[in-house]
Symmetry: C2
Subunit: 297 residues, 2 copies
Amino acid sequence: MSVAQAFDDWMLTNQGAMEIALAQFLPSAAVVPARLHEAMRYTALEGGKRVRPALVFAAGELFDADPDLLTRAASAVEMIHVYSLVHDDMPCMDDDALRRGKPTVHVKYDEATALLVGDALQAQAFSVLSESTADPVRVLAMVRMLAQAAGSLGMCGGQAIDLASVGTALTVTELEQMHRLKTGALLRASVFLGALCGKALNANEEAALDAYARAVGLAFQVVDDILDATADSATLGKTAGKDAADNKPTYVSLLGLDTSRILAKKLLNDALTAIAPFGDKANRLAELAHLIVHRTA
Amino acid sequence: MSVAQAFDDWMLTNQGAMEIALAQFLPSAAVVPARLHEAMRYTALEGGKRVRPALVFAAGELFDADPDLLTRAASAVEMIHVYSLVHDDMPCMDDDALRRGKPTVHVKYDEATALLVGDALQAQAFSVLSESTADPVRVLAMVRMLAQAAGSLGMCGGQAIDLASVGTALTVTELEQMHRLKTGALLRASVFLGALCGKALNANEEAALDAYARAVGLAFQVVDDILDATADSATLGKTAGKDAADNKPTYVSLLGLDTSRILAKKLLNDALTAIAPFGDKANRLAELAHLIVHRTA
């Protein structure tokens, strides 16, 4: 079996594990309030590349993580990510009708349901994590990390900056700062949550993972901007070309396509360099960095 | 000093402590993203009776709780409560322009900011709690309790049932079930979080607090419905008469005013009976039950 095939299999295995875990950690659609639970499952199940869970699993492999805690961490991160998509798609934010190739929650159900689905998914993320029976010191540190990454100094803060930036002229540094919060914080948390499932990190390990996570987080966004400008909606599973239509500053609008592609490659190289000291045990993290930069959707 | 005066002073002291704690636990309005942080502080500070924090403090007194953990628990519960109000007031939910006598967040700022304020406040609640340096086993149990009370089997679930109930004919049992989730779950969590700041509960203590919390939680809602039907907007600090205008089932619409008042008194009696075994140490909880039933706003 080739290296690429082994990695593809690993991704599929993890996606399958996530599907089972999320289906189990979300209340059944038969439980009252049935419509809310149905909508939570509609948006969280059967969708997405599960990039954040993959980062959790890859970082966990590096440090021989506890499998149950790892699955909880991956599910919690994905629930936070999915809730942010549901709220982000609402009419008062990006007003998007299509996500992962399906109608968005407020289109399929209604706006109030979309609001509550997001709110309930955030709470559920903290439930799933805090219900772990692993070492409470470790689990509590993970709750702290997830809450900080999700809040106003992390993901929500980045979205607020994003909203305020529409139609304004950001510098590349300002754009980078926005994305470090908006998508970077949760991607970074994914890496650290996975690692914390295995052990407390020493300073060198923390610095290496931080450098990797920062590079990968930024690369993710640069590639997102490139894809939004170059791919079609069917391939993306969401509306393409929205950034330009919404007059949003992006790497492509600031740097142009060619320079954005060069930047993505440089960031990939930074990520790989950062984890080189871990040797072969970090192969999954390296392959994920490649996937994030070379993806086509 | 009379008993009533001592209780009033206790409430004022706690409200002052909450103001200081929330001001400290919320990022400064000078921190980027400044507008989001300003809006979070706008809605969370200088407002409300702080009933939930008072329940946390009262239950904490009963079990000689750790003061720092108690303040964190009270702040976390209040942040969850405030976020739920911000989202509840949005146009796609109750569409209310006035809250605690001030313009609601989506009116003062905009809808997208209101959405993010609520999302970030929820995350911040879990940050504040999980950053405690108290016994991790205890703190983690509290995170679990708060997350469950806030989620789809608690507060968010109750709001979903509430939305679905507009214009329908609920029975009193169904109405009670809705409120047990919508407001009851977080009020109950307030009592238990306060108690857990002091000690792990034995089965008798847990049953007593549960009976108290359930009675108080339901009484709170019955009185809310009475006030919505009888008080004016200036007194309430929010739009009065909305339930009838929105065609929402309430205790008043199902039972009438007189029977609703009798029910509130019965629930007060239930609450007091439940905590009688604790003796004088539960006086604050008893006084809070009185306050909740006899409030005029």
